[in-house]
Symmetry: C2
Subunit: 222 residues, 2 copies
């Protein structure tokens, strides 16, 4: 499968790109608003993978070109860039493509991090509203610590929650998650349930801030 | 330590009462609005514990009497009864007592369960507003599956999040949590961070509803 990571030069994009390239045979495409930056990052990831004996083919393109080449498009951009980013690549999305939203809106105060619920109910719902007809949206990969994900020496052994209204799209993304060693997809139901999933991210940050040795904390449901 | 469970005849109260009586030497006091009901439930718990060879002294009293006898008072009542319950026992609380709030406000729609944030920001904040001066409030035990907690044959191996503005009170409640085998307290910071903690409860219910063999799902952070 061909996976594009729009904003694949950022921290969560980097982690997913490296893990998929390292653990699976999927084609990984790094997207950025700047084609040169995408190409440089793709080169950097390929060098990192090569140093671990993995002959990967990570490519880098401008976001629209990256989206055009992929079946699954992960919008690894901050929540406030999500709608713009989806609109900027809408013409490059094909019917049947799956758009994945890992973004969470948060605000910080002196106590810690808090969920900042968008008017649409969740960031995943915002993505669903912005996506063209025929493109299914799946919320996933919200609750992964970026440093831990990007460090191929770090064991994951964590879960990621998946929300979607289209079961086939949910299955596609769950399979991609399962391809990453130590990552287990767990369904939280439909997109109407996304806000509770997204609110887990500020909670994890608050836990990281208030406990020793939990800097890169993840979650496991059992 | 003397622990009162107001609403200790309900499901989460039952689980905490049984676990503390079974795993620790703390005095467990079951509270109810109805003294006879409290006494009957306490008798029922004592019978269950006796059948497991534990000679416990679980007592049952009307909520006010239960609160008067305890150092730590757990308000194991539904969110919509929380303020009333605290006000009804306020005169029986002593300076230095610790009030514990495990309640979560939720609403259900066709997609699943959702967090219903009170105007105060969280149910824990509501409890803090209702508590008399000199009584510290701690949010804890929100995210425990009641059936699993109340089944002494079930292994827990889960975490419970603790939020408090008073470090000593947080330590007291964390120690009580640690006394239960397989339960680990994890700090999520101050009461201003309680809403993300409480939002985890509807998420766990949505996970239970959408996955096989996760009926009594708990959470572990690592």
């Amino acid at each position: 499968m061909d996976i594009a990571l729009l904003g694949g030069t950022g921290d969560i994009g980097e982690g997913l790109a490296l893990r998929w390239a390292y653990d699976t045979s999927h084609e990984v495409i790094v997207g950025s608003r700047d084609a040169e930056r995408a190409a440089n990052k793709a080169e950097e990831y390929a060098t990192e993978l090569d140093s671990r004996g993995v002959d990967s083919s990570v490519a880098g393109y401008e976001n629209g070109e990256a989206a055009a080449r992929a079946d699954v498009i992960v919008c690894a951009v901050p929540a406030y860039h999500l709608t713009d980013t989806i609109e900027s690549v809408a013409d490059q999305l094909d019917e049947g493509d799956v758009l994945v939203s890992p973004a969470v809106g948060m605000k910080r105060d002196e106590a810690g991090m808090h969920y900042n619920e968008p008017g649409a109910g969740s960031v995943t719902a915002l993505a669903a509203d912005a996506a063209p007809d025929g493109v299914s949206v799946v919320g996933a990969f919200h609750n992964l610590a970026a440093d831990r994900l990007a460090n191929l020496d770090a064991e994951l052994d964590v879960d990621t929650l998946v929300v979607a209204d289209d079961d086939d799209a949910a299955d596609t993304v769950s399979s991609l998650a399962e391809g990453i060693e130590g990552l287990r997809p767990v369904s939280a139901g439909g997109i109407a349930n996304a806000s509770e999933v997204e609110a887990l991210t500020p909670l994890l940050i608050n836990i990281a801030m208030n406990n020793e040795k939990m800097h890169d904390v993840g979650v496991k449901f059992h």
